[in-house]
C-alpha cells in the first residue's frame, strides 16, 4: 500500500500555490484568445515556392495595412498561419489579399482555410463558452449533491475548479491559443475529473459504512489504493489515445489534445490529493454517511 496520505499537506500546499499562480496569471497576463473569441481573420496558407517564408509573408502582409498581423509556421515548412484583427471588418479583405499576394508570389500558394469572425459573433461565442463551462460545473455540482453528502460535493467541486483553473493557467503561462475546441476540451476535463473523483469517493463511502474504527485520514488512503490500479489503467489508456491525437491528429487538434492531456493529468492528481483531503479536513466519519441514510 502506498502512503498517499503522508503527503496530503505537501500537495495541498503545492496545489494552493498552483491555483494562486494560475489566478494571478489569468488576471494579469490573461488568456491568448484566438479569433473565435476576439474576432478577426485567419488564413492558413500552403506555399509551393521556397521564396514564400515567414519573413517574406510578413513583409507582404504588413504593407497591406491590416493592423497587427501575426505570421507563423503551421506544422511543416510549407504551411503558414496568418492572423489579423480586421478591425474595420472590411468586406472583400480576402480578395484584396489574394490580389496583393498574386503580385509578389504568382500562383505559388493556396489558401487552405479562411476564417473570418465578426466582433458581434466573437462576443457571443465567448459568452456562450463561459456559460457552457459554468453550466457544466453547476450540473456536476447538482449531480454530486444529489448522489453524495455535502462534504463529498465540496471535495469534488474543489478538485474540479483546481483542474480547470490550473489548465487555463498553463495556457496563459505559455500564451497558448484559446479557441472553440479548447472550450470543448475544458468541458471534457470537467467530465473526466468528476468521473475520476466519483470512483474514489464511491469507494470511500463504501468503506466508511464498512469500517467504523478507521479514521478518515487512513480510510481515504485505503480507498485510493484499492482503486489505484483502475486509476492508473484508465488514465494511461486515455492519455495514450490523447497522445495519438496530439502527435498524429494534425495541427488543428494540437491545442485541444494538449488541453485534454493536461486536464487528465491534473484530474487524476486532484482526485487523490484535493478531493480526498477535503474529506479529511471536514472530518468526515461514519456518522456522515449513516446520518444521511437515515434522512433518506
Amino acid at each position: 500500500m502506498i502512503a498517499f496520505n503522508k503527503y496530503y499537506n505537501h500537495f495541498n500546499l503545492l496545489s494552493s500555490f498552483l491555483i494562486i499562480v494560475s489566478l494571478l496569471l489569468l488576471i494579469f497576463k490573461g488568456l491568448n484568445f484566438g479569433i473565435d473569441f476576439k474576432g478577426g481573420t485567419l488564413i492558413e496558407l500552403r506555399a509551393s515556392d521556397s521564396k514564400i517564408n515567414v519573413s517574406s509573408l510578413r513583409d507582404r502582409f504588413n504593407q497591406m495595412d491590416l493592423g497587427d498581423v501575426s505570421v507563423k509556421k503551421f506544422g511543416n515548412d510549407t504551411d503558414f498561419l496568418v492572423k489579423f484583427e480586421n478591425k474595420d471588418n472590411k468586406k472583400n479583405i480576402i480578395e484584396e489579399i489574394k490580389v496583393n499576394l498574386d503580385k509578389s508570389f504568382g500562383n505559388n500558394y493556396d489558401f487552405r482555410r479562411v476564417e473570418n469572425v465578426g466582433p458581434k459573433v466573437s462576443d457571443e461565442l465567448l459568452k456562450s463558452g463561459v456559460i457552457a463551462i459554468s453550466l457544466s460545473l453547476a450540473l456536476m455540482l447538482i449531480y454530486i449533491w444529489i448522489r453524495f453528502e455535502w462534504q463529498f460535493s465540496l471535495g469534488a467541486i474543489f478538485a474540479l475548479f483546481h483542474d480547470v483553473i490550473v489548465t487555463l493557467g498553463v495556457f496563459s503561462l505559455f500564451s497558448l491559443e484559446i479557441n472553440l475546441s479548447i472550450i470543448a476540451a475544458v468541458l471534457t476535463i470537467v467530465g473526466y475529473s468528476m468521473n475520476d473523483t466519483v470512483v474514489i469517493f464511491d469507494r470511500v463511502r463504501e468503506n466508511l459504512r464498512k469500517y467504523s474504527d478507521i479514521k478518515i485520514f487512513e480510510l481515504t488512503n485505503i480507498s485510493i489504493n484499492e482503486t489505484l490500479s483502475r486509476t492508473i489503467i484508465t488514465s494511461a489508456t486515455t492519455l495514450l489515445a490523447l497522445l495519438a491525437i496530439y502527435f498524429f491528429g494534425g495541427e488543428i487538434l494540437k491545442g485541444f489534445s494538449l488541453a485534454m492531456i493536461l486536464g487528465v493529468v491534473f484530474g487524476t492528481y486532484s482526485s487523490i490529493y484535493i478531493a480526498n483531503t477535503v474529506l479529511v479536513r471536514l472530518r468526515v466519519s461514519q456518522k456522515t454517511v449513516l446520518r444521511e441514510n437515515e434522512k433518506k
Binding site: 479562411v114 470543448a184 466519483v198 463504501e206 489503467i233 495519438a244 494534425g250
Partner: protein, 517 residues
Amino acid sequence: MLYFSKLRILFITLFSVLFILIASSNLFKFDDDFFDKKINLGLDLQGGSYLLLEIDNKPVIEQKLQNLTTTIRNYFKEKNIKINNIKIDNQNIFFNVTNNDKQFVLDVFQDENSDLNPYYPRFKSHQLEIEDTGLNLKVNFSRQGLIKLKTSSQDQAIEIVRRRVDEVGTNEPNILKRGNNRILVELPGLDDPMRIKSLLGKTANLTFRFVTNDENDRFGVEKLKFENGLEEATVSKRIIISGENLLDAQPKMDTQANQTIVSFTLDRVGAKRFGKATSTGIGKQLAIILDGKIISAPVVRDTIASGSGQISGGFTFQTATDLALLLRSGALPAPLEIIEERTVGPDLGQDSINAGMIALAIGFILVIIFMLVKYKIFGLITNITLIVNLFILLGVLTLFEATLTLPGIAGIILTVGMAVDANVLIFERIKEELKDETNSILAFDGGYTKSRTAILDANITTLLAAIVLFFMGSGPVKGFAVTLGVGIFTTLFSVYFIARLFTSIYVSRNKDKEKLI
C-alpha cells in the same frame, strides 16, 4: 448475473452484427435503402464554406415607420383629428394633437380591435406602443411588433438567399434560420465563396427613375453617384418601375455595340408604366439604379411598349450574368452582412480525415497493446469489446446520418481511451472479490454488482458534459459532443452485454482454475 440465455446471446450477436453492417455501409455500396446510409462529413472534413449572415433591419424599420406616419395622418383625418408636427426620431414617431383629442387617439391605439394597431392576443401585445410624454405623443414598435417585423423580413430574406444560392448551383447547400435576424448558409465543397459572398452582399434593389434638373420636382430629388464612383446625377424620387416588375433577366451579347448587356422582360403593370414613361419622356435620361448607385442613364429615344428592354453599363460577361441573376431572384428586404465565415479547402479536409484516421488507428493499437500486456486474457476480452464498441459507435452515427467533424473524430479516439474504464472497474472489483470468495462465479457476480454505481456515476458525469457541449457548442465542436455522448451509450452496451458474455463464457469454463485474473 453471469448466466446468459440462448435468446439473449442471439440478441446480442444480432444487434452487434447489425451495427457492424450499418457501419460498413460507409465503405461498401448496399442496394438496400436501410443499409445504404453514410456518415455526413462536416465542412471541416469535406471542405466547404460556412457563412453566417445578419439581416440589418434598420432600413426596414425606418421604412415601416415612414409609411406609418402617412397611415396615421390619413386615419385620423377621416375622424377629423389633426395630427401636427409628426416626425421620426430614433425609431420613434412623435406627433401632437389637441388636448381634447388626446384621449381618443390613445384609445384608438390601445383598443384590442383597433384596425390601426393590430393586436396579437397570443402575446397580449399590440404591434405598436403609444406613450404620452407630456410634450407630445410617442409611438414605436412594441417588442412583439419588432419580433414580427424581424421574422417576416427573415422569411423573405431566406427565400431570396435560397434562390440566389440555387442559381449559382452549388451541391446540396444548407440554408437555415438562426434566431430571428440571421441566416446560416453552408456550402459543402465550395472552396472559394467569393462569388456567393458578393451575390449575397447585394440587396439588389432596382429602380428606373428619370434624371431631372428640376429641383422642385413634385416627388423630391436626390443626388446619386454612378457605379464607377466618379460622376453624379440628380434623379427624381419618382419610381417608374422597380425590380418587382421584372419577369425575367438574362445576360446577352449586343452584337451591334459589341458589348455585354442584361436584357429584361417586364410584367403587365411594368410594361404599361414603362411604355407610358418612355413615350412622355423622349429625350430625357432614364437612370437605372441598383442599390443607390446609377448603373447607367441612357437617353430615351423611342417609346418602348413591348415590355422588354436592356441595361448596358460596361459589363463583362461575368458581371452581366451576376446582375441578371440578382434581378431574377429579387431584392432582399434588407441588407445582409456576413458576420462569420469559415472556409476549408477540400485538400485540407482530406488531410484532416487522414490525420484523424491515423491518430485513431495509432491510439487504438496503443490502447489494445497496453490492455493485453496489463490484463492478459481479460485484456483480450476488453479489446474485443473495444472493437465491437467502435463499430457500434460508427453504426449509430451512420444510422442517424450524423455529421462527423474533426473534433468528432477526436471524440471517437477519446471514447476508445475512456471505454476501458468500465471494464477495468469491473475486473478490479472481481480481483478484490476473489480475495475472500472461493467460488469464482459468485466473485464475478459480486464484481459486476458492486462496481455498478461507480460506473453509472462516472458515465453520467461525462454525459452531462457532452450534453452541455451539444447545446452550447457550434459547428465542429457539436460533432465532438455527439461522438462523445453516443460513445458513452455504446460503451455501456458493449461492457454490460458483450464483455459480460465473454467473461461469463470464460469463467464458467475455467471456474476451477486457481488464478483467474
